[in-house]
């Protein structure tokens, strides 16, 4: 493999904290002033404020003129690395893919941004049509029947599922008895955390020798207390659970609902669906598989699809088409609804982008996206396993779906360097690498997800970086020890972040504890 010749150095602005840039009296923006007639009619407004409620001081915000504001934040943007700039395959489970620019034109249009959620519905027929059409499309993608676009992310999708599980069993008078939700060790952490928030006891299945949820453990975990199962398939091992229909069948026989975390859907579009695998509901991350950008961590959407029998329990409102009136409308009238998980209706611009992405590809294109994601993943895996010190979990499975959890266990043993060291060093190459979700039952793990957006050359370049870092771990340990050298900043001290005595979450806290550069007061 030849490493594409780059001489990367991240922008390093050494940018001060915005409070250090403040000059008293500067203004970044002026606000309209009340017209003369208003002054005459009601005065200065401020004297109307009830005694004790008028702010007695000025909030300590920084004061900057607009050019300085722009420069500061644009410099900070240059010290960030979006998917538009890097081969962003190191964030397994998160499906980093191309965010088509035309979709930003749609999302940034006043016809999207400047709509109020309480406008008369005759004036939002366009956006309601997009939402309705998106639901129709997801019926095909999932095989399920009814939709809620309300959840604001994958974890929120899980919350909506757990909330519906509760409503369903409550309606059957079984809520008190069914107090457990079963999930798996390799499912996303939220699949374990969210049911807990809804008051469920969480039962976690360990993986078997093949890396799949242990069937025997599952059989003994299922009982009349089981309210639902929360499964991911494939998990971040990338191994498809070929017995998934058995799992769902057993749950169903037991009166439990089958809930599917399809954050990892990118290898399965048009190939295998929630319906055929026996799931009652499923959520999809529109900011992952369906191309909406991540925005440094949201806003996002965890679109929820459910079987028809669960429709009455959906969060309100749902979007419907009135055939007779020839109009779309929001239906709030679901008497058994589980309530709401988000204010108003959801993160609409994310749904709009997903709709546009799907409509640019069609059924054949969606399937192609998945097939190429699978191709990319298996190509990458083949080459990655040639890199010294790297191994794979559950090696008996030759092919994987769209991602793989690897391990630097061998390298750690031989060099003392593991996944956190690779993570630090990779910043010097202008790309990004995470590790894996907890728990790290596979030692020194990392999860790579090379979605369909990356060319063969991109994958080869990333592999070249991994190869070089591995070589350095074995042969040039100083390089690793001091990394990063070419990034935005140098090695940070993590201890400050875990020590209540030293941590500072705001500039106010910092200046209370320190002066100058971390000199204790």
């Amino acid at each position: 493999m030849t490493l594409r010749k780059r001489a990367f150095h991240h922008m390093r602005w050494n940018e001060p904290i915005i409070y250090q840039l403040s000059t008293p009296g500067h203004r970044g923006l002026l606000v309209p002033e009340a017209e003369e007639g208003i002054e005459q009619a009601v005065g200065d407004g401020l004297s109307s404020i009830p005694i004790g409620m008028r702010r007695s001081d000025s909030p300590s915000l920084p004061e900057l003129a607009q050019p300085q504001v722009v420069r500061h934040f644009n410099r900070l943007s240059q010290e960030n690395l979006g998917a538009d700039l890097n081969i962003d395959i190191g964030q397994g489970t998160c499906t980093m893919k191309h965010n088509p620019k035309i979709n930003e034109v749609f999302a940034g249009s006043p016809k999207m941004t400047d709509l109020h959620p309480c406008q008369d519905q005759s004036t939002v027929q366009g956006i309601l049509e997009i939402l309705y059409r998106t639901e129709e499309i997801f019926r095909e993608i999932s095989g399920l029947d009814c939709c809620s676009i309300q959840p604001g992310g994958g974890t929120h999708g899980a919350l909506a599922m757990a909330t519906m599980v509760r409503a369903w069993h409550r309606d059957r008078g079984e809520d008190g008895r069914r107090d457990e939700i079963i999930t798996t060790l390799f499912s996303h952490p939220s699949d374990a955390a969210v049911p807990k928030v809804k008051g469920y006891k969480v039962v976690i299945l360990p993986p078997d020798e093949e890396g799949l949820p242990d069937m025997e453990a599952y059989r003994s975990a299922l009982s009349e207390r089981t309210a639902a199962i929360f499964f991911t398939n494939p998990e971040d091992t990338g191994i498809f659970n070929s017995r998934i229909a058995e799992f769902t069948e057993l749950a169903r026989k037991n009166g439990a609902l089958c809930c599917y975390d399809q954050a990892n859907a990118n290898g399965l579009l048009g190939i295998a669906r929630a319906r055929e695998a026996g799931f009652d509901m499923s959520f999809f991350n529109l900011h992952k598989t369906f191309s909406s950008p991540h925005g440094c961590g949201g806003p996002a959407t965890g679109l929820l699809m459910v079987d028809r029998v669960l429709e009455p329990y959906l969060p309100v409102p749902v979007v419907r088409w009135d055939e007779k009136g020839g109009r779309y409308y929001l239906d709030f009238n679901l008497p058994k609804s589980c309530g709401k998980v988000k204010a108003f209706y959801g993160v609409i611009p994310v749904v709009l982008r997903a709709y546009a992405w799907i409509m640019s590809l069609g059924a054949e294109g969606l399937e192609e996206a998945s097939r190429i994601a699978v191709l990319n993943n298996n190509y990458f895996m083949k080459k990655m396993l040639e890199v010294r010190g790297c191994s794979i979990s559950f090696p008996r499975h030759p092919a994987r779906i769209e991602q793989v959890r690897y391990s630097w266990e061998e390298m750690k043993r031989e060099t003392g360097f593991g996944t956190a060291d690779v993570q630090r060093r990779i910043a010097d190459f202008g790309t990004h690498y995470w590790s894996s979700h907890e728990p790290w039952v596979i030692p020194e793990p990392f999860t790579i997800e090379p979605s369909e957006s990356y060319s063969k050359e991109d994958l080869d370049e990333y592999l070249g970086i991994m190869e070089q870092i591995s070589r350095e771990c074995y042969e040039e340990p100083e390089k690793i020890r001091h990394a990063p050298e070419s990034s935005t900043i140098h090695l940070i001290d993590h201890e400050y972040l875990d020590d209540p005595d030293r941590w500072a979450i705001t500039w106010r806290q910092y200046t209370k504890k320190y002066r100058g550069y971390f000199e204790r007061r």
Binding site: R55, V70, S109, C118, P189, A343, F344, S360, L375, P484
Partner: protein, 463 residues
């Protein structure tokens, strides 16, 4: 396209020769050979039945914009809608920064290659803390409703108690979400409020206060727009009984109104949408939670909290504070959960607050107060219309009662719509006791001319 395999612009390796080369490298004949783990029984038997795509960008643009063109924006009509989502001015500089590829398309990376967003969100936390006069603020939650729910759960964990007393004049949409968060761990009791003043009923509070109560929650301003000025008394009642006070505050008020910390709140929460985020049909929301800096509070946050830390070369470095709290670290034993929430709106709010500064926030509060007072006054002079109840001082929203006109809000709003005006939100279903009333909202974008136009239209309609 018949017979020829399509090559997709977003999918580089859809090019047949590349694909073949990669398959050869893997040592299989087709992608199907890589999908062997998926049993036949659960495979799709036929292609998904989806609409024909618009594969050319020009066609896609025509299609999507064609649908969107059926929307009418608040720029095209005159809007008096609020109720939890507000038409404030979004500065161009905000759109410029959040539109930067580096922020827009980033995941949520590590302290080095994504240093920029750590610093911006640290600055966001810092400015929000100043606005709220607290020590700590989190990375944004999904929305203010989640922030409210989580604040109450934090209060429950802090006090070891299981009951929330919620103000009856809170936003009903938000209440539905809060219930979802509290269901199964906390019980909810609603507090009465005085119909004539719009303020909390302290007698009712006294009657409902007990050793079981974890927190009293109210919104300031209330859903109906009134400024609650009894905060200190509510706080005293809460604290005497060992409970906390949680206040949901509108950040756009805080240049001129005291923040909740000054009248005894232990936790302040709210929504950052007014701080430079487009309404996006209700999709522009993001929540904040602020507290004092004591560790007992910090330990109860489920959210990410970015902290500042030194680097080897004396730069400003950043990272996650107390990571072990989070569900990323501790799954089912974590404090609630964290995931992908609304970070980009936090970036927007940071740019907004840095642009506005203290003077900007004070000016904003002043002009909103003046214009909404004016609107409330002149609307109240229209025959058949009353804006006197609830009588409490309002900030940007107030109740308009059409009872005396004998007309209902639905009809009035239809007629306003015909004049190109979105009338206030109909309250007749959410608060039937208010009769035919609507919640009107005025922001710094609403000019005197706009208000006069509304008055004229209403006078005509109610004639």
């Amino acid at each position: 396209m018949k017979g020829k395999k399509r090559v997709y612009p977003y999918i580089p390796n859809s090019e047949p020769r590349v694909r073949e080369a990669m398959l050869r490298e893997i040592g299989v004949d087709s992608v199907d050979d890589l999908l062997g783990d998926i049993p036949e029984g659960i495979r799709m038997k036929s292609r998904m039945n989806l609409p024909e795509p618009f594969t050319a960008e020009a066609d896609l643009k025509r299609h999507v914009e064609g649908i969107l063109s059926r929307n009418i924006t608040v720029g095209e009509y005159l809007s008096f809608l609020g109720a939890g989502c507000y038409d404030h001015h979004v500065p161009a500089v905000v759109d410029e920064v959040i539109g930067r590829s580096e922020f827009l398309t980033a995941y949520a990376g590590e302290p080095y290659e994504d240093h920029g967003r750590f610093q911006v969100l640290f600055e966001y936390q810092s400015m929000m803390a100043e606005l709220l006069d607290f020590d700590v603020c989190n990375v944004p939650t999904y929305d203010g409703a989640q922030a409210a729910g989580t604040s109450l759960r934090m209060a429950s964990r802090l006090t070891g108690r299981k009951k929330a007393l919620l103000a009856g004049n809170m936003n009903p949409d938000r209440l539905k979400v809060v219930r979802t968060y509290l269901d199964s761990v906390m019980t909810v009791e609603m507090l009465g409020w005085d119909r004539s003043s719009g303020l909390l009923d302290l007698e009712d509070l006294g009657a409902k206060m007990s050793e079981e109560v974890a927190a009293i929650y109210f919104e300031n301003p209330s859903y109906l727009g009134t400024i609650e000025d009894q905060g200190e008394m509510v706080a005293r009642a809460a604290h005497e009984a060992g409970a906390l006070m949680v206040v949901f505050a509108d950040p756009s008020t805080l240049g001129v109104l005291e923040p909740p910390s000054r009248y005894g709140a232990d936790i302040a929460c709210g929504d950052i949408q007014p701080l430079g985020v487009h309404m996006n049909y209700g999709g522009g929301l993001g929540g904040f939670i602020c507290t004092k800096g004591e560790n007992r509070f910090i330990e109860e946050y489920p959210s990410r909290l970015f902290g500042i830390t030194p680097t080897r070369e004396k730069e400003w470095g950043f990272g996650d504070v107390a990571w072990e709290r989070t569900s990323f670290a501790n799954r089912e034993t974590a404090k609630e959960f964290v995931g992908t929430h609304a970070a980009l709106w936090g970036v927007a709010a940071a740019v907004y607050l840095a642009s506005m500064g203290p003077e900007g926030m004070a000016d904003l509060g002043k002009v909103i107060l003046q214009r909404s007072l004016y609107a409330r006054k002149v609307l109240g002079e229209v025959p058949g219309v009353s804006t006197g109840k609830p009588s409490g001082v309002s900030f940007k929203e107030f109740v308009v009662d059409f009872g005396q006109s004998g007309r209902d809000v639905v009809e009035i709003n239809e007629k306003l719509l015909a004049c190109g005006i979105f009338g206030g939100k109909d309250l007749s279903r959410e608060f039937p006791e208010l009769g035919q009333s609507a919640l009107y909202c005025v922001t710094e974008k609403t000019s005197k001319k706009d208000i006069d136009r509304l008055v004229e239209a209403l006078s005509e309609i109610l004639r």
